[in-house]
Amino acid sequence: MKKDLFDLFRDNQHKLHEKPSPRVWKQLERRLDGHKRRNHYSVYRTLAMVASVLALVAIITLLSLITESERRDYLASTSLIVEDFDVLEENTETLRVFEFTKQQVDRLANPIAEGRKEKKLVPALQWQENSSAKSNLFFSGYEDGKTYTNKIAPLKWLIGTWTGSSNGVMTLEKWTLSNPNTLLGEGYLIQQKDTILIEEMKIQQVGTKVYWSAPIGQPDQPVLYQLKGYQSNKAIFENAQIEFPNQMVLQHNSDDHFSIIYQNQKALAVSNTQMEYLQSRNTFIQQQVVRNLERAGK
């Protein structure tokens, strides 16, 4: 009877015991003491807070009782002159405040307004294509009678002007929304006083698919990468036909920083034994071409 390698480990796991060095208990004790003291103090602090609140309440009650009895005495002792009050003119300011308050109360009572008939709110879409990847919710925006939902919306953070440097040369990138389905990017290099347009990039929705296009080595024929999905802060575009790079990753690092990473999704024709060797004493860093950009003016 043969056993599996995994079973061999599992069956012998119970043998794994190792006493840690004495410093571990010493440090643990110190931490537990510190924690106890903190709790101790916090009990006193809480009691002190409760006591002071109670004292305040007592003082206020006492004061109001005193003033109440004083008032009663005063009323009893004096004779009041009752005036005829004229009918008040309509106070527009008061009315405005009243109306506003009424609106707030109504809004609280009915929090969800239906909105106009032709504009409907659509539930958030969950990206299903790569189910093993961390799913990312993004709002599809409004349905406006067309059969597809707008998928460009989640990338509108790109809009604006960005700067970066590449091999010591300043680069400028401007992104605009040229139409609801297209984000247009212009990439420039800045050399002394010249700003030279180097490339035009697009993120475009065609039907239900979204494509990144960039003139990778061929200015007249931009290469299209299809958006495969989102993983955390990354939008991943792919084109398996390209030898390198077959993947473009648009990584939204923060409000003011993003990166464009060209890489290969899978290693180029490396056998398993080669991969094993490569990973045995080395750190595997994928071959990547990266552009890091930050918002201009920051």
């Binding site: 043969k2 056993k3 061999l8 015991h17 840690p20 643990l28 398993n272």
Partner: protein
Amino acid sequence: MNEKDLIEACKHKDRRAQKLLYDKYSPTLFAISRRYIRNREDAEDVLLEGLTKILTNINQYKGSGSFEGWMRRIVVNEALMFLRKQHNFNMTVEISNVDVKTKISVEDELAAQDILDLLELLPTGYRTIFNLYVLEGYKHREIAELLGISINTSKSQLILAKKRLQSLIKRSKFPGVG
């Protein structure tokens, strides 16, 4: 003191009970940390963090599952948090169609030190996934979530880990393993 009383006493921050708990469980918990973290001092730091969390949060243990299991999960989480700071689990490449069949004769035994030595020889990614799947019993879906990788990466890394261990065992000729 039985386990129930020990836990109760620890909930009341009885120092003697806390020390008893430490003496009883720290060797097992330390062994867990050692499986994930190569450097002994780092492994002790992870154990310290884990034990601190165990003893200060012991009121959260409601008795519905195994106490040792609850403690083990805390230590594994601490180990993963430590590893995530130094190792980018996402930098692994998915390898498709890796198939490994291993059969080892039933007389084979692995000494505790052998296990640790073998695990130490694995790259961090392989070792972590191996530990989580084989010894902690997590499923690939759970491992993928914990490490922020895809299920396929978890599966292929495990298979590669298995292959590597096989070749290490063969090469090193561990006594009793053939």
